[in-house]
């Protein structure tokens, strides 16, 4: 009886440690946040294509086909920007998989079934031993996972921070200013349409209405991009937090801080 009580107590201790669900959620949220960039639907190629199309509309020559906007350089740059996102996403997906507790949720129940079904051995006789082996196995793999997660986080930290900083620089200092150019060009386009003496007052009213709507769309895009850039800052803070706690990833204080952070990240994504 004492042996069974001890076994049950030991199982309790062993199964209580070694969950990485907080890291798993943070990695998932980081991946989701990275993916959101695509949904913003603005990059150098889009800017180039829209400008090219706009100018073809203004061109007085009437063509048989819509304009072909090559935008070769812009496509090349966007492809390279995408590489920054892909490499970070691949890393966070790796963290997700390794921190997923299902990966090591070892169960021996299927092994014991044939014996207990045939009444060869009573289930209650074999269960404590199987549970104990299961818990030891989980503990061993969790120790290994903790070590590997810690190593990966340590090795990746400076590069994760640098890549996120580069993406932020690209968005804030190079991509968002192209929207200012777009806004200025729009003003010139509407100036010409508005100033046409053939327009009635009603036409002018409608032109202005459309102009303001287009300006609003640009401003919205601008604030979406800047908000997005801010969310990248949260990913950086999150990864730094993982780095700072890399040797105590299963401690409550680290877990609580991670939970707080991915909640903030979720708010920025949604």
């Amino acid at each position: 009886m004492r042996t069974i009580t001890f076994t049950i107590a030991l199982i309790g201790i062993l199964t209580s440690c070694g969950s990485f669900s907080e890291i798993n959620t943070l990695a998932i949220k980081s991946s989701e946040s990275l993916k959101k960039f695509k949904t913003l639907e603005y990059n150098f190629t889009i800017n180039c294509s829209e400008t090219c199309y706009q100018r073809a509309l203004e061109d007085n020559r009437f063509a048989l086909a819509p304009p072909t906007c090559e935008c070769t350089e812009e496509k090349k740059t966007d492809k390279n920007v995408k590489r920054l996102f892909t490499v970070l996403d691949t890393y966070f997906k790796g963290l997700q998989r390794l921190s997923n507790d299902k990966l090591v949720n070892i169960s021996f129940s299927s092994i014991s079934e044939p014996l207990t079904e045939g009444d060869f051995i009573k289930e209650e006789d074999i269960k404590p031993y199987l549970n104990l082996s299961q818990s030891i196995a989980n503990m061993i793999t969790n120790k290994y996972r903790a070590k590997q997660l810690s190593l990966a986080i340590e090795k990746a930290n400076p590069d994760v921070l640098l890549l996120l900083e580069k993406i932020q620089q690209i968005i804030e200092q190079n991509l968002v200013p192209t929207l200012t150019n777009k806004r200025g060009e729009l003003q010139q386009v509407y100036l010409e349409i508005f100033s046409d003496s053939a327009n009635s007052n009603y036409d002018r009213f409608m032109i202005k209405d459309r102009y303001f709507n287009e300006l609003n769309a640009i401003s919205e895009k601008e604030s979406e991009l800047l908000k997005y850039s801010k969310s990248l800052n949260k990913i950086a803070v999150g990864h730094q937090l993982l780095y700072d706690n890399r040797n105590n990833l299963d401690k409550e204080t680290a877990k609580n801080a991670i939970v707080k952070l991915y909640s903030e990240l979720s708010e920025l994504i949604n």
Binding site: F44, L115, Q134, A137, Y144, Q148, K155, N174, L191
Partner: protein, 135 residues
């Protein structure tokens, strides 16, 4: 002449943006007084300055990406490390299943039931073979 830095490229993008804005403002304030040719020409200048500005922002982005190349390679290495660790965990998973089968076999032997021993031995061999296959 040395190569321009990413910051210089971004600054040039901003400078050309302001040149374009200056011409744009001039057009807005004087459009009614301008001849048709002046309107066309000033618009062409405006477009060119805007295009230059966009080109500098694009070039600045390319320089930022160049600076990130070493980090991209390092991150690929970390991703491979993680893949390897995941494969190892999956392998450990299979190994410990064998331990479970061994425990079961032990219990069957203790219970001294020949059919139970035969059955759990079968389970153990099956689990063991799986481990060998993953090696």
């Amino acid at each position: 002449m040395g190569k321009l830095t990413k910051n210089q490229m971004t600054q040039l993008g901003g400078s050309y943006l302001r040149y374009a804005q200056a011409i744009g403002n001039y057009r807005i304030n004087n459009y009614a007084r301008m001849t048709k040719l002046m309107r066309i020409r000033s618009r062409e200048y405006y477009n060119s300055l805007n295009d230059y500005s966009n080109s500098f922002y694009l070039a600045g982005t390319n320089l930022i990406i160049d600076e990130a190349e070493a980090s991209i390679n390092q991150m690929k290495e970390v991703a491979q490390d993680l893949d390897k660790a995941i494969t190892n965990v999956e392998k450990v998973h299979t190994v410990v299943k064998t331990i479970g089968a061994a425990v079961q076999l032990g219990a069957a032997i203790i219970s001294k039931q020949p059919i139970a021993i035969a059955d759990s031995l079968k389970q153990f061999v099956k689990a063991y073979k799986k481990v060998k296959d993953t090696e």
